[in-house]
């Protein structure tokens, strides 16, 4: 994402840079490019016959401008994108997207940076794509996150409200994420909640999977529209299936082989992490297939249970991370549903046993009508 400083008229020159030449300059062959297009068609669950269409769309000029906003975040999503060991095709696709504004990586600073944003906002109104990283605090007029004197809320309303579409990267931008964890001191929310009128596509995850971000952009470039989404605003190609249903440890779940302790033989043998609190059965994401860091691995693959990071309010609802079920409210931290349930069953049995003993010794109970002996 090098070409970010667009304040001085280099804009038109850069727009006409053709992708094949950029690839040639960076040592990416035509073959690599077509492999990438094929992989993208697989991510998007498209038939292979559409690969030429994807390639043509990527090579065509007319990529929209991008404004990358960062609010309450750890920059993990930017890092996920930038820390690729080699420049991947996907990275370059995003790179040539004309990222006009991105706090973390743009060369411009201060007023220059704000100017770049305002310029895109004015010239590309309704045509650019906003990418948002991080939650938006709305409490107390949004004072808890301000950039250049403007609150994140105002910036989001301005930028996302006038964008063709907004892609939220990471759980914080999608649903508030960790900043919104109880008691949510800053009133952090996701973009859709902060700017209800905006067209938002959510790419939650902690961090976002870069492949899914690239695929969403590729889908947009190829078809001119955003991919179909589920009830939580997430694209179905990436969030349409449960982690549990595509997990490489799933055969151990069905067989009945569970890890009971970290570092045990079962753990080393790759058995199912269900009992260790893995939230794969309640989390929708394509981690088992896409994986992270150029498909090197993913949490469950490396022996840690899923934390459910791509689900709304995961920090509150998926905890405790190392237990199957949440704690029962009002019963102390370590009291599980089963302990309470066993207690309830035993107490009921004891109460009725006592009642039975008393009943047995009461011999003068009278039916309403007398008995006929």
């Amino acid at each position: 994402m090098g070409h970010t400083d667009k304040g001085d008229g280099t804009d038109s020159v850069e727009r006409h840079l053709d992708l094949p030449r950029i690839f040639a300059e960076r040592g990416i062959s035509r073959r690599d490019f077509m492999k990438f297009c094929t992989a993208m068609s697989a991510v998007l669950a498209l038939p292979v016959t559409l690969v030429p269409k994807i390639a043509a769309a990527l090579e065509a000029d007319g990529r929209p401008s991008i404004i990358w906003l960062e609010f309450q975040s750890c920059t993990g999503d930017t890092e996920a994108l930038l820390r690729a060991a080699n420049p991947t095709v996907g990275e370059i696709v995003l790179d040539v997207l004309s990222v006009d504004y991105s706090e973390t990586i743009m060369a411009a600073a201060g007023h220059q940076a704000e100017e770049a944003r305002m310029k895109t906002l004015k010239e590309q109104k309704g045509k650019y794509i906003a990418v948002v990283e991080g939650a938006i605090p709305v409490k107390d007029g949004g004072i808890y996150c301000c950039i250049a004197g403007k609150s994140a809320l105002d910036i989001a309303r301005d930028v996302c409200g006038n964008a063709l579409a907004t892609i939220t990267v990471g759980t914080c931008a999608s649903y508030g994420g960790i900043p919104a964890a109880a008691p949510n001191p800053t009133g952090a929310v996701g973009v859709k909640e902060a700017v209800p009128g905006a067209t938002v596509i959510n790419l939650p995850g902690c961090p976002v999977n870069t492949d899914n971000l690239v695929a969403t952009v590729v889908h947009f470039l190829t078809f001119g529209k955003l991919p179909a989404v589920d009830g939580k605003g997430r694209p179905l190609f990436a969030y349409g299936k449960r982690i549990h249903d595509n997990c490489e440890r799933r055969p151990h779940f069905d067989a009945g082989q569970y890890v009971e302790a970290w570092g045990s033989e079962a753990h080393r043998s790759g058995h199912c992490l269900y009992k260790m609190g893995c939230k794969g059965p309640e989390t929708f994401h394509n981690c088992p297939i896409q994986r992270y860091n150029e498909k090197t691995n993913w949490p469950v693959g490396s022996g840690h249970g899923c934390a459910g990071c791509s689900e709304p309010q995961f920090w509150d609802t998926m905890t405790p991370f190392y237990k199957r079920l949440p704690n029962v409210p009002g019963f102390g931290v370590e009291t599980t549903a089963d302990k309470i349930g066993t207690g309830l069953a035993v107490a009921t049995a004891a109460a009725f046993a006592a009642h039975g003993v008393v009943s047995a010794f009461r011999r003068k109970d009278e039916p309403e009508r007398e008995k006929e002996e």
Partner: protein, 218 residues
């Protein structure tokens, strides 16, 4: 004084759904406990222990749901002892008095055994609560089950649950309600036994044959 007579109280649908429910609840509780806290029972990944346990759980769940739905239907079609009014004595003044009387007997405050032909007022009320718990179990259970196919028909029917409650909250509710039903089952068997002994209406055998002993006033 009255003549002792046999009265047909529990119709076939009432008895069938009762025993189907019992078998299903037993099956669902045992399999559910395993699903909630499994033990490693398989030696190789090619076995299918959890797979079969879950299969049995889901089949029993469908049977249970159909049984509960049938019983609710029969609450509008059956005889007066099966009707929905039996389960809401709290709605009438007389019903509330029966509830109070029965409560006094159960807590040893009265020696007068309430003799009713159908459910006594407290039992009827308890079953209304239990049916509510059944519905909670069915809705939460099928919501969790539907997650394997989030674009499927079942998910369309119960997916609204996930808009209202957290996934883990639904799981916890499903788990805790099972324990409430287990506690109910203990109470239910005891109370039925108590009334069989004290009331002498043959309530236990009535659930098999349908007839209860009723005394009629002259």
């Amino acid at each position: 004084m009255g003549n002792l007579s046999e009265k047909y109280v529990w119709e076939v649908p009432v008895r069938v759904t009762h025993w189907v429910n019992m078998v299903c609840i037993l099956t669902l509780s045992v399999t559910g406990l395993y699903i909630g806290a499994p033990r490693t029972l398989a030696l190789t990944p090619s076995e299918y222990v959890m797979g079969w346990v879950r299969f049995v759980h889901f089949v029993a769940a469908y049977a249970f749901a159909i049984s509960v739905a049938s019983r609710i239907y029969w609450a509008f079609r059956g005889n007066r002892y099966a009707r929905w009014q039996e389960f809401f004595p709290i709605l009438t003044r007389e019903g509330r008095w029966h509830m109070f009387e029965t409560f006094r007997y159960y807590t040893f405050l009265s020696r007068q055994i309430p003799h009713v032909t159908g459910h006594n007022a407290l039992a009827g009320t308890a079953y209304a609560v239990v049916f509510l718990l059944y519905l909670v179990m069915i809705v939460t259970g099928f919501a969790l089950y539907a997650e394997h196919a989030p674009q499927g028909t079942l998910h369309t029917l119960v997916g609204w649950m996930f808009a209202l409650f957290s996934n883990q909250g639904i799981r916890l509710t499903h788990h805790l309600t099972m324990w409430l039903l287990i506690a109910f089952a203990i109470h239910h068997v005891y109370s039925a036994w108590l009334m069989d002994v004290k009331e002498k209406g043959g309530v236990m055998s009535g659930m098999f044959g349908g007839y209860k002993s009723v005394r009629e006033r002259n």
